[in-house]
Symmetry: C2
Subunit: 376 residues, 2 copies
């Protein structure tokens, strides 16, 4: 294992890139999709099953973990990896985004944010310094700068002020992070859907200097077209030799479109959340298992998929256990969805390596356009 964080680009095809992030805890093949393990668990999955889907890295949520069970407690217990039984790399967000979306009575100042916990109403604060401290206590391998992210649409002036606050916080995050060999700190570009603001943010981040660069403030309600509009230029503003992480994305077609525009890393709750609501993601698009059309269907969800849900069970079974409210429904569908997402990433990486990304993309959309298999 290397003792430092590093990134190597192996191939490009158009703007699409494939490479390898090396960390002391293991390698991350890029483009990478990171399953979300909010509260120290990828919901409905054993961690060894998450690894079996092909995931190289998990995402943990600072906001949730600081409230329950608490960062100092996780540190005393040996860190997040040991606590949740995941030995590979972990990226933690800064808490900034979820404070804004989940907490009560929050108050934002230049110093940071004070808020009340959505779990028990207790009073907390987050700042660049405290966020760095928490992420260090958790033992995060890839630490995110503390930032602020306005919901879109928002007035340009609001977006600009927010972005500049985030850049001042990025500087404080870098100072507070210090020198931690083997651990990486990523800056987060903000600026909404305004190109000049995105450019200003990128310049500021490069001036500070980070191990990787995230594109923040997207996937917050602006729609795929607006997001791709930003991704047409935003990744190019970031250093070519560092990983580019698009936060909170996304649907399978969002992922393909983001990779095409130069993104290396992504995360999203969609495959896990969908797994708990009876929705499967497949090569042929989404499939709602609760639909009565599956009740007598002996066929697997996807005959070419090698996950346990597809190898060992019929659509009829998946329909039955979803309708019956059985936990195995979430367990099997989450496993399938994460497996599908990791398969998608593996196919993307192979296509870029082979210089066949356009053909891959065409086939990806053609297969989805066909839709689910015919009803029996």
């Amino acid at each position: 294992m290397p003792d430092r964080f590093s990134f190597a680009l192996h191939a490009t095809d158009g703007k699409a890139r494939t490479g390898l992030i090396s960390t002391p805890r293991g390698d991350i093949r890029t483009p990478a999709f990171m399953p979300v393990g909010t509260a120290a668990t990828v919901k409905a999955m054993m961690p060894e099953s998450v690894a079996a889907t092909g995931a190289d890295i998990l995402l943990g949520n600072t906001y949730h973990l600081m409230l329950r069970p608490g960062a100092e407690r996780i540190d005393r217990l040996g860190g997040l990896h040991r606590f949740m039984n995941w030995s590979g790399p972990i990226l933690t967000d800064s808490g900034g985004f979820q404070v804004m979306s989940l907490s009560d009575l929050r108050k934002l100042t230049e110093a940071g944010v004070t808020f009340r916990s959505h779990v028990d109403g207790s009073r907390h604060e987050l700042s660049p310094e405290r966020s760095m401290e928490i992420q260090k206590l958790l033992g995060s391998d890839i630490v995110m700068c503390f930032d602020e992210c306005p919901a879109l649409p928002a007035e340009e002036k609001v977006v600009a002020n927010s972005m500049r606050l985030s850049m001042r916080w990025a500087e404080r995050s870098k100072a507070a992070f210090g020198d931690r060999p083997g651990h990486a700190l990523f800056g987060i570009q903000q600026g909404g859907v305004t190109q000049d603001l995105r450019a200003e943010s990128a310049e500021k981040l490069k001036e500070i200097g980070f191990d990787g660069y995230a594109i923040g403030g997207l996937a917050v309600g602006e729609g795929q077209e607006a997001m791709f509009g930003v991704l047409d230029y935003a990744p190019d503003m970031l250093p070519e030799d560092r990983p580019r992480y698009l936060m909170g994305v996304g649907k399978p077609d969002d992922i393909v479109g983001a990779v095409k525009r130069g993104v290396d890393m992504m995360d999203c709750v969609l495959p896990t959340r969908s797994g708990r609501t009876g929705q499967a993601w497949t090569r042929r698009g989404p499939v709602a298992l609760k639909n009565a059309r599956h009740a007598d269907d002996p066929r697997p969800l996807d005959e070419d998929c090698t996950c346990p849900a597809c190898r060992n069970y019929s659509r009829a079974y998946l329909h039955h256990v979803f309708r019956s409210g059985e936990m195995i429904s979430a367990m099997l569908l989450t496993w399938h969805n994460l497996h599908y997402y990791q398969d998608l990433m593996a196919n993307i990486r192979a296509a870029i390596t082979a210089g066949q990304f356009d053909a891959f993309e065409a086939e990806f959309h053609a297969m989805r356009a066909e839709g689910d298999i015919e009803r029996l």
Copy 2:
């Protein structure tokens, strides 16, 4: 694999017995504990994980499966084994007990029971003939006679009439079951806590002739002392060369006491249900993971247990995920509880084989009397 159902006794120690039931779908080591897979799933478990705990056989519930997804549907889909991805033996109950405890507007006659589904209010009927048909459609390896079971305490006259109805139904069950090589039909002794009625029931069942004999009508609220009182004589009334199955039992100390009195098979929802309410069963008795004393405890639930919950996680983690309502709490604790139950059965079998059952029983109770490990 044998093509017939058979039972061989390997050793006895006092009244305690150990042996092997052979079926075309696999062997069942006795004394055996059967995890309950009510609705075609052992709740919160993958079937391969259930097998990994050491379970040789599962129990399925006729009442639940006939209502959802339906016995004819399961038959069309290739039977219950294929449907739920369990290749080992399955025992199904007759539906009689759960019709009485779960359904609405039931009406009992000599012919059978009509009732409304607790799921959707639809109208159904069960009789000895329909129960045999359903259990055949499911593909059950061990089929139970359709019986009626009054809640205790009940007047002796009520118990006697109910028992005699069950014996007439046992005769009809046997006739309807027919000749199905490789499949077994078990009779069910009734008679409440009245020795004469138990004797009368046993005589009637032996006269009809079954592949195995269950002791029914216990674990229905009478308490351990009354249950052991019946078990002091009831197993002796049943043929020595056939398996004896105590239905719906129980807590670990119920199991040890039942085996001591000559019982070979048991089933209970306790280990799985407890797993979903944060309760673990250990050598040292029950442990409530929701208790705040575990919040900072880095130690495993049981340092000598080899299940994933004990090998890979701290009590602090198990506490955290239970408090956070995460599915992995039920997944890990159910796994642990089933593992503990199967370990208990393995230790019981080894003790009987070695002629050391009394020493085992003393050690079992001594360890439980010590209680959980000291708080840190």
